[in-house]
């Protein structure tokens, strides 16, 4: 489904040319559970952003569902993101003035859905993440675990094919972190592709396919590389 060919990313830091990614070749199939690990500065977040189409590669080709998305404009990329990816961030990134339910609703609003449809979908999602009694709370009235559940609910509401999680447990205690990972794994079992970036070997070890990144290069891949 996702196919990266010779993807490279470099940028200038002062006078110095920094290679964040070097010639990455990666194929990810539908329904995979993939973890990307590596020390900080290894380029794992950059790779995730690249897959998420938030960042543009300096070189290489990105095929998403056999379609070349490397050269798309900003607005086309936005649409592709909306239709294919759900995001879970380390810092949750909830909009502070909106309630939990409204935060979950945001992607639907951006997609231009009718209010009636939106309400039904938000209600269903709130129920499946047992957030019904928290629906009217603002993010600052929620615990870390609840916030991340809201974020996951938001990531799944557009029914994406891929969930991209960037250190989703980084701001949570161990127990809550495990719950969140469990929740994400359940999604994977339902057939959603799960790509997890983490520096935590224990969490990363859960994944059925593990990729290790050092200095912008894949040094280890337990899955079959195309």
């Amino acid at each position: 489904m996702i196919r990266l060919t010779e993807i490279g990313k470099e940028f200038l830091l002062g006078e110095q040319r920094v290679h964040a990614l070097r010639a990455i070749n990666l194929r990810i199939d539908r329904g995979e559970y993939l973890s990307i690990m590596g020390p900080s500065g290894s380029g794992k977040s950059t790779l995730l952003n690249m897959i998420a189409l938030l960042d543009r590669p300096s070189s290489g080709v990105y095929l998403l569902n056999e379609r070349d998305v490397t050269g798309l404009g900003d607005d086309s990329l936005a649409r592709v993101r909306r239709e294919n990816f759900g995001f879970v961030f380390q810092f949750f990134h909830l909009i502070p003035r909106l309630t939990a339910a409204e935060n979950i609703e945001v992607p639907l609003i951006l997609a231009g859905l009718e209010p009636r449809q939106r309400q039904a979908r938000v209600k269903a999602v709130l129920e499946s993440y047992s957030l019904v009694d928290r629906a009217g709370h603002r993010p600052d009235q929620l615990s870390g675990g609840q916030r991340q559940r809201v974020a996951i609910a938001r990531a799944t509401i557009m029914r994406p094919a891929v969930i991209l999680a960037d250190e989703p447990t980084g701001n949570l205690d161990q127990a809550t972190g495990r719950q969140v990972i469990h929740l994400l794994e359940q999604l994977n079992q339902q057939g959603i592709t799960l790509i997890l970036v983490t520096h935590d070997a224990e969490i990363g070890g859960h994944a059925t396919r593990r990729i290790k990144l050092v200095d912008g290069m894949i040094t280890e891949d337990t899955g079959v590389t195309a």
């Binding site: 938030l54 607005d75 936005a78 810092f91 990134h93 992607p107 609003i109 951006l110 009718e114």
Partner: protein, 401 residues
């Protein structure tokens, strides 16, 4: 994204940040109300002044003896004395179909006495038509009777101040007073109207023009006041007047014609220019409010970098983010414009209560202009922050913490 949702999201963020909202609304409101109040003042002054003038009748044409020449050339060999305007000239004008009515005016000064009290006042010799032409209202009694202008009659109409000077609290109506060396019966008293075009109508006396001719021993009129039948026909009527008097003055064009409407029109233009100037100055405060909007919106964009990054990650195209911020700026300026509108109208109303003589009211065009400029500034100064928000790079926006 649906328009209602854009509006709602923008409104949510406006309500969430009360202080910011208050500051912007206040800034725009002050600008809008300044424009409304200042134009209301200017426009009211204009209407007050032109109103005062047109009280004299816009159709009024005054005829003065003598001609004011503005062309150069050598002085005439023989002394050229203008012919007097006479009562017969006035009667000749009255026969013209273009002229509705004519009032000859003879001017002099004479002592007016009653029961040992004496006072030197201005005496106007005229006819009954004067009342209508100068729009005079009577406090008591009637104006001069409509009699043959050649007929002297011992009646007079006096101003209120003169009446109280001579008679105190007792009634002046029907009493005999002495003007110069003649006796006149007080026929009516003119209501207080203050100074009107240089003549204090409170402290004077009207007598029939023939009586004035006898009193001052002259045939020459100070001027003839005429009222044209149609306001639009002022220039045609002026030509007619010139022709009639020329015929009667052996072909000499020796009169000066002053039309009331041209004076009013000039004043109107001057005051309108002044009002527009004042409104322009007030509009500068709206521009300042616009810069305030831009400033605060730029701060907002910086504060909400993370949120913008998130919206982009969730698939919002640049247009949506731009519209969100633009809508916010626009809603803020709409709010400011409405508050300013109410504030401006309230202040104008308050001023009107304080100075009831001057009819202070904001002209409709200024209300539309003020609100329109407020919205335009909101849009104009909202564009830069909105574009900046829309162009943010999602990766760095999300990474900032």
């Amino acid at each position: 994204m649906r328009t209602e949702d854009t509006l709602q999201l923008a409104a949510r963020s406006i309500l969430a940040n009360r202080l910011r909202t208050l500051l912007i609304v206040l800034g725009v409101a002050i600008g809008v109300s300044a424009v409304i109040v200042l134009t209301a003042l200017g426009d009211s002054a204009r209407r007050y002044i032109t109103g005062e003038f047109s009280e004299l009748g816009t159709n009024m044409i005054a005829i003065l003896p003598g001609r004011s020449e503005t062309t150069g050339g050598p002085p005439p060999l023989m002394g050229e004395t203008p012919r007097d305007l006479t009562i017969d000239d006035a009667l000749a004008l009255a026969r013209s179909p273009l002229i509705k009515q004519v009032a000859p005016l003879m001017l002099g000064s004479a002592p007016v006495a009653h029961a040992g009290l004496e006072r030197e006042v201005t005496i106007f010799g005229t006819t009954a038509a004067m009342q209508d032409i100068r729009k005079l209202t009577m406090a008591q009694g009637q104006f001069l009777p409509d009699i043959d202008p050649h007929l002297a009659s011992p009646v007079c109409v006096i101003g209120e101040q003169l009446a109280s000077e001579l008679f105190g609290n007792s009634s002046a109506l029907g009493q005999w007073i002495r003007i110069g060396d003649r006796r006149f019966r007080v026929y009516g008293i003119i209501a207080k109207s203050g100074v009107s075009l240089g003549a204090d109508l409170d402290d004077m006396a009207f007598i029939p023009v023939a009586s004035a001719a006898a009193l001052f021993n002259t045939q020459s009129l100070f001027r003839i006041l005429t009222e044209a039948r149609m306001a639009t026909g002022i220039s045609a009527t002026s030509g007619e007047i010139r022709r009639i008097i020329k015929d009667r003055h052996e072909g000499e064009d020796d009169i000066t014609i002053v039309a009331q409407d041209s004076i009013i029109a000039t004043f109107d233009r001057i005051m309108l220019a002044l009002t527009l100037g004042i409104a322009g100055i007030a509009a500068i405060s709206l521009a300042v409010a616009g810069i305030l909007i831009m400033n605060i919106m730029l701060v907002t964009v910086t504060q909400r970098t993370e949120e913008i990054g998130l919206l982009k990650a969730l698939g919002a195209p640049q247009r949506q983010i731009r519209n969100l911020f633009l809508t916010e700026a626009l809603l803020l300026s709409v709010g400011g414009a409405l508050v300013g509108l109410l504030l401006g109208l309230a202040v104008a109303e308050l001023l009107h209560r304080l100075y009831p003589v001057i009819p202070i009211a904001a002209p409709l065009w200024s209300i539309f202009a003020a609100v329109g400029i407020a919205l335009a500034t909101g849009l104009l100064f909202g564009v830069l922050p909105a574009v900046r928000a829309a162009r943010q790079d999602p990766v760095s926006a999300l990474a900032r913490r």
